[in-house]
């Protein structure tokens, strides 16, 4: 589980905004709700180790992540950016999933097999012949998720995953996420869509001006 111990953080060029958080994920899925600019993305990036806290500690299952490199954190936590296009690197969906595995030393056929299985799971089979640039937003998002899941993280942070999805796509995404939850994955979902949070059975937490509200 992710734990924040008396964490504070401010952007170097924005000293008037300060995040001050003590947080313990009580269930498998936590939803972080709040207005624009309340610090949700900042919180998520801290949780995924992208930003380093100024003071305090962030722990994964009791282990302080301060000393870990981003690549090492990535083997434990995944982060889905608000803009999925920013985390799609290869021209073909299968390659997108397989290339990090190969860079990490997996044999090519094995990586490809894994990529095929993930495409099946994330309903990307219709897109395999397309270039990734032309995929729809929902498809890009699923591809990014599949690529993250290839690294088998224990936690997943999703930044406003429902942006730009219609209701049916939202329900599909919720179903996918519930499936992941059933596999013992910890989720932190940033959203301002309360119904979406409820459909995941998430523990709702509210953030306002960089401070978590209780209850």
């Amino acid at each position: 589980m992710i734990r924040f111990e008396q964490v504070t953080f401010a952007y170097p060029n924005r000293q008037d905004f300060r995040l001050t958080v003590d947080f313990f994920a009580s269930g498998a899925c936590t939803a972080l709700l709040g207005e624009n600019g309340s610090g949700k993305t900042t919180f998520g990036k801290l949780a995924a180790g992208i930003l380093k806290p100024d003071t305090g500690r962030i722990l994964y299952d009791g282990q302080d992540i301060a000393g870990l490199k981003l690549g090492e954190i990535g083997r434990q936590a995944g982060y889905l950016f608000q803009e999925p296009a920013r985390q799609i690197f290869a021209a073909r969906p299968l390659e997108e999933i397989a290339f990090p595995l190969e860079l990490r030393g997996m044999a090519k056929p094995e990586a490809e097999q894994k990529a095929r299985a993930l495409c099946e799971e994330f309903e990307l089979n219709d897109t395999l012949d397309q270039t990734t640039y032309t995929l729809s937003r929902g498809e890009k998002q699923r591809l990014a998720l599949a690529a993250i899941m290839a690294c088998e993280p224990r936690f997943l942070v999703l930044d406003e995953p429902t942006t730009g999805l219609d209701r049916r796509r939202r329900e599909l995404l919720a179903a996918t996420l519930r499936r992941l939850l059933a596999r013992d994955l910890g989720l932190l979902v940033i959203t301002h869509d309360r119904t979406f949070a409820e459909s995941l059975g998430a523990d709702p937490r509210f953030i306002k001006e960089g401070v978590l509200l209780d209850g």
Binding site: G37, G71, G74, A85, I88, F99, P100, L103, Y133, C151
Partner: protein, 290 residues
């Protein structure tokens, strides 16, 4: 009051509705947009007219290219730094951004004294001269020259993009050219942020760059091309659409509500720059023929 927030909101309300990702994103843009002629940017500030800065930058970079003498270069650099201080250029940010570059420059200085030794040998190992007065002089020349270029470019940073574009237009540059320059400048911070996000996402896929072999690293960097290109294409398309919707170039000439005028102090400064140029020329020739 959070001025950046207000700027961003104002921008969205002014009709560039959701055409740029920044409007939906977390972070208001660094530079305000420059097409709207409604906001007289920085008209009442005490800074000189941007055209004076153009002249000044031309002066510094022109002599920066021409000069070969360390002492002159140092003097010029001091003058440029003085100007930067007077204009309240934010050095901290500048130096932070160019930290790596300074290291490279220092390397060049050392290599110059290693491989182009001349003058007195100050330090040598066995018979290889490590530091010579001539080499150090050449190294310092390169260092000062680069610093001079960076400083003279930095002289523009306190000005809003709107003022610079207007200066270019009033210097009779075609509006399209001036606009293209400003668009290019405006997208630099955004592209930087996108690239940072992409690099982060790549690292979070469990790739530790230091563990990779050189060949793999090259491959890794080639993968970064796609998100960057995709973002640039997307930006270009959205910008083109918003330009069309505002009837950009529908008429051959544009008028502008916001115009720049040179006041008395600006003219004085221009004269000073001209005199300095002449003086520097004469000094240069005098030293040469001496």
């Amino acid at each position: 009051m959070d001025s950046r927030k207000v700027k961003g909101r104002e921008w969205c309300q002014r009709g560039r509705f959701a055409l740029t990702p920044q409007c939906q994103g977390n972070r208001p843009p660094d530079t305000a947009p420059d097409t709207a002629d409604t906001r007289p940017a920085d008209t009442d500030s005490k800074r000189p007219d941007p055209r004076v800065i153009f002249a000044l930058a031309l002066f510094f970079s022109g002599f920066g290219v021409a000069l070969r003498d360390v002492r002159f270069m140092a003097a010029l650099l001091c003058l440029a730094l003085l100007c930067a201080v007077l204009l309240r250029v934010r050095f901290k940010r500048l130096f932070g951004r160019f930290k790596r570059l300074w290291q490279v420059v220092l390397m060049v200085a050392l290599l110059q004294s290693l491989f182009a030794p001349s003058g007195l040998v100050w330090l040598q190992l066995w018979n290889v001269p490590l530091l010579t007065s001539g080499g150090l002089e050449k190294g310092l020349l390169v260092l000062f020259r680069l610093a001079l270029f960076i400083t003279s470019a930095a002289l523009f940073t306190p000005y809003p993009a709107r003022a610079l574009i207007q200066a270019m237009v009033q210097l009779r540059l075609p509006y399209e050219v001036a606009y293209m320059v400003s668009v290019g400048i405006r997208f630099i911070p955004q592209l930087g942020e996108e690239l940072r996000d992409s690099l982060t996402a790549l690292a979070l896929r469990g790739i530790v760059i230091r563990e990779l072999k050189l060949k793999q690293r090259v491959k890794l960097y080639s993968y970064l091309l796609l998100p960057v290109l995709a973002a640039s294409l997307q930006n270009a398309r959205e910008l083109a659409m918003s330009l069309d919707m505002r009837a950009f170039r529908a008429h051959p000439k544009r008028t502008s509500y916001y115009t720049l005028t040179l006041n008395r102090w600006d003219w004085v400064l221009l004269c000073v720059i001209l005199l300095l140029t002449l003086f520097a020329f004469f000094a240069w020739f005098a030293v040469k023929s001496w």
